[in-house]
């Protein structure tokens, strides 16, 4: 979130062009790991990730952005190939 100053005195605005998220990856307890051999690139995980933290679509192998993955495990639970496994997050 960013608050930008408007030309009008005391008018708080939210500027959509400067929006972006925070590092919520540090909420994670379990971490998804994709088994490339099992993945058929169906795109389902990218479609249902609540955080939109997975880049991918049909025929393109998914890539998880760990800066944003909260580790909910929906992708692993829904993967039709069981190609995603939730593993204990490495200690930082």
């Amino acid at each position: 979130m960013s608050l930008d100053k408007s030309v009008i005195k005391g008018f708080a605005l939210m500027d959509m062009s400067t929006r972006g998220g925070q590092y919520v990856g540090n909420w994670r307890v379990l971490m998804p790991e994709i088994d490339e051999a099992k993945c058929i690139a169906c795109g389902l995980c990218a479609t249902i990730c609540p955080e939109a933290a997975i880049a991918g679509k049909p025929k393109v192998k998914p890539k998880i952005d760990m800066r944003f993955c909260k580790g909910c495990g929906i992708c692993a639970n829904e993967c039709p190939q069981k190609a995603i496994e939730m593993k204990q997050e490495a200690k930082k």
């Binding site: 979130m1 939210m14 972006g20 998220g21 479609t47 939109a52 800066r67 495990g73 929906i74 692993a76």
Partner: protein, 699 residues
């Protein structure tokens, strides 16, 4: 003397209500008031408090129920704050002339000038002058004690007026303090059951409070009410003294003086900030400064005589305000103290301070500098600036992280892990595109995703979101833009089925060309899982706990589809985040219908909520699927009167498969489970029957 407990302010208030044996408790959740009504729900569900607990559909109704119950002669408690208190306002006023001595707990939170959950007195400020007795508490002990005292004062026939108990949100509501618990037997003796002089009960009397009087009586009545309020000061003193005699604690009536002996300068405070002020006074005193403190315990009736008396002995007074009266240059307490002194013989410089707005902390250091400032004023014998705003620099906000891909929602939101609502927002915006305006009544999505989407997200008021949406649509229509912009709500079940229903019904009936999307997580999740009109039968929420006497919610949910169908709108559909192609098709259909000028389109999307339904967060989509396959959430649509089931399993799976993984149904007995199974089958058969008919009745 009974023992103590370390509890939050909200619990202290709830205990006070329990000790007072309140008979009727209408409720509606709002942060930071919610735990009061949750504790009370627990007391009632476990049979510890024999009270009528009413789950109302909005604050306006909540206060309406409170006034009604008090009219019928019951001892009544309700509570709210902020926007909720503003929404109550009409009924709040009504309680005065009906002479209902109810207690309204106000867990102060700023009114939405800019939204914040933190306290200031902008919420209670517009309610001060209606004729209530308004008390401000400093500690959790005072909250509990004053709950009992206020009932005693209010129910005294010399007063018989409603009262407000103000406790600062978070600083008291959610702060743990040691609280001594009065003994129930002692309380029972000290505070006997309330006996209304003229209850609305035709079986026992034929005189009732009236709502209207001839206009010639209005001025005299205002004079009389003012006299009653002024006379109540004596009752306040009496009750405080008698409370002290019985329970060993007393507070000193309308104001409390702290280290005022020999003081040449005074600070005036109210509420929880007083504790910080005490420490600042201690420090200044230790430095040899002759400064004291006045705590305003009652704002109404205002302690004018007391203030005059004490002001005559000092050289300067500083008033610290968490209440800004815009257009008057200063704060509420400042203006009241000034008004109290003006026509007296006392002439003393008055320095105003405004600080701590929106819940910002007022630290001891600030109180110390304010004290210093007033000492300077006393020395100089004049004021440089009548009102000073004590401000602090904004700490650097975290820089947002830019991402490369163009999802309609930025990753990195505040939503819970495994949140289903964001899946729905994403796919809604995927279909509608960037030229979309989302109208959002308060909801968890507003908090979490309002700042994460790439489109305007308008925070509407809870009861008026469909009206906000109508206004935006009509203005764009007038400007010839209605075809180019998509307008949809993203409303929770509370904002749709309960408090938002009236305004939605109006928009539907008028045929506004807008989309109403309700994401239904079947409770008020934003305020912490209180039951809504959409909470299913037997479900546990924080206001329908699995109590020993009352296990879970005891009534069935509203059937929103049928309600909307009664408006004969062109498109109604249920959907699920577990059936995304179906959801996307339905969103497209809603766009089609509205753009064709046919009327309002209503989409009702179930959102399994890991946090509120108590299931593992990885199972959000799985639970959604089970809901559809067990008949708990049938996917259907009513397309211009044509009824269709979109997902039709040959046979429903047992409802237990859906219920068992969810903690909110963990308490279910065999009997309850069997009932739910039968109920799901009956509902499903009815839908099959409807589909056979094809046309929906009434269209």
């Amino acid at each position: 003397m009974a023992d103590f407990d370390v509890i939050q302010g909200n619990k202290a208030l709830a205990y006070g209500v329990k000790l007072a044996r309140v008979e009727v408790i209408p409720t509606y959740p709002i942060t930071p008031q919610t735990t009061i009504i949750e504790y009370l729900a627990e007391f009632v569900a476990n049979g510890e408090l024999d009270a009528e607990y009413i789950h109302t559909d909005g604050e306006h109704s909540c206060m309406g129920a409170a006034v009604g119950a008090a009219l019928a002669g019951a001892r009544v408690f309700t509570s709210t704050c902020s926007q909720g208190l503003a929404y109550m306002h009409e009924c709040v006023a009504q309680a005065v002339n009906y002479r209902t001595p109810l207690l309204l707990g106000v867990t102060n939170r700023t009114l939405g000038w800019y939204w914040s959950l933190g306290p200031d007195y902008s919420d209670i400020m517009p309610e001060l002058n209606l004729g209530y007795l308004v008390n401000f508490a400093e500690s959790n002990q005072e909250v509990l004690d004053m709950t009992l005292q206020l009932y005693k004062v209010a129910e005294d026939y010399r007063v018989l007026l409603p009262t407000m108990m103000s406790l600062d949100g978070f600083y008291l509501s959610y702060s743990q303090e040691r609280v001594w618990m009065p003994d129930q037997n002692l309380v029972d003796k000290w505070l006997p059951p309330y006996k209304a002089p003229y209850p609305v009960d035709p079986t026992i009397n034929d005189k009732f409070p009236t709502a209207s009087i001839p206009s010639v009586m209005h001025t005299p009545m205002r004079r009389i009410y003012e006299e009653v309020l002024q006379d109540s000061k004596k009752v306040i003193q009496e009750v405080d003294a008698s409370f002290g005699k019985t329970f060993g604690r007393h507070y000193g009536g309308l104001i409390e003086e702290y280290k005022t002996e020999g003081a040449e300068v005074l600070l005036v405070t109210m509420g929880s900030m007083t504790t910080a002020a005490r420490r600042a006074i201690d420090k200044l005193r230790s430095e040899g400064e002759k400064i004291g403190l006045i705590k305003l315990r009652f704002m109404r009736p205002f302690p004018d005589i007391e203030m005059r008396e004490i002001a005559g002995k000092v050289k300067a007074i500083g008033v610290v305000d968490r209440m800004m009266l815009h257009g008057t240059r200063g704060g509420g307490a400042f203006q009241d103290v000034k008004a109290a002194l003006y026509n007296s013989n006392v002439k003393v410089p008055l320095q105003g301070f405004v600080t701590g707005m929106g819940g910002e902390d007022i630290p001891i250091d600030d109180m110390y500098s304010m004290g210093k400032k007033v000492l300077q004023v006393a020395k100089a014998k004049r004021i440089e600036k009548e009102v000073e705003f004590i401000e602090h620099k904004l700490t650097e906000m975290g820089k947002p992280i830019e991402v490369e891909w163009a999802e309609p929602i930025y990753p990195g939101s505040d939503g819970c892990a495994g949140c289903g609502a964001s899946i729905i927002v994403r796919h809604l915006l995927k279909v509608l595109g960037p030229n979309t305006i989302i109208i959002n009544p308060p909801s968890c999505s507003g908090v979490n995703y309002g700042q994460a989407v790439r489109v305007p997200w308008v925070l509407a008021n809870f009861a008026a979101a469909a009206a906000y949406e109508t206004g935006v649509y009509r203005a764009l229509k007038k400007k010839g833009k209605a075809d180019k912009v998509y307008i949809t709500s993203f409303a929770g079940d509370g904002g749709t089925a309960d408090i938002g229903l009236q305004s939605l019904s109006g928009a539907a009936e008028r045929g506004e060309l807008i989309i109403w999307l309700c994401y239904d997580n079947e409770a008020y999740m934003n305020t912490g899982i209180q039951r809504s009109g959409s909470t299913p039968l037997f479900s546990v929420t924080t206001t329908t706990p699995a109590g020993k006497v009352i296990p879970g919610k005891q009534v069935r949910r509203k059937n929103l589809e049928m309600i909307m169908a009664a408006h004969r709108i062109p498109y109604i559909a249920t959907a699920s985040l577990s059936y995304l192609p179906d959801l996307e098709r339905k969103i497209k259909k809603a766009v089609e219908v509205t753009k064709a000028g046919k009327g309002l389109a209503f989409l009702h999307v179930q959102q399994p909520c890991a946090t509120g339904w108590y299931f593992p967060e990885s199972k959000t989509v799985e639970i959604g699927k089970l809901a559809v396959q067990t008949g708990a959430w049938p996917l259907m649509e009513i397309d211009e009167g044509n009824f269709k089931l979109n997902v039709k399993p040959k046979e429903l799976r047992p409802i237990a498969e859906y219920l068992k993984p969810q903690g909110r149904f963990r308490h279910l007995s065999e009997v309850q489970l069997e009932y739910l199974q039968k109920d799901a089958q009956i509902e499903w058969n009815a839908l099959l029957e409807l589909e056979k008919r094809g046309r929906f009745p009434g269209y």
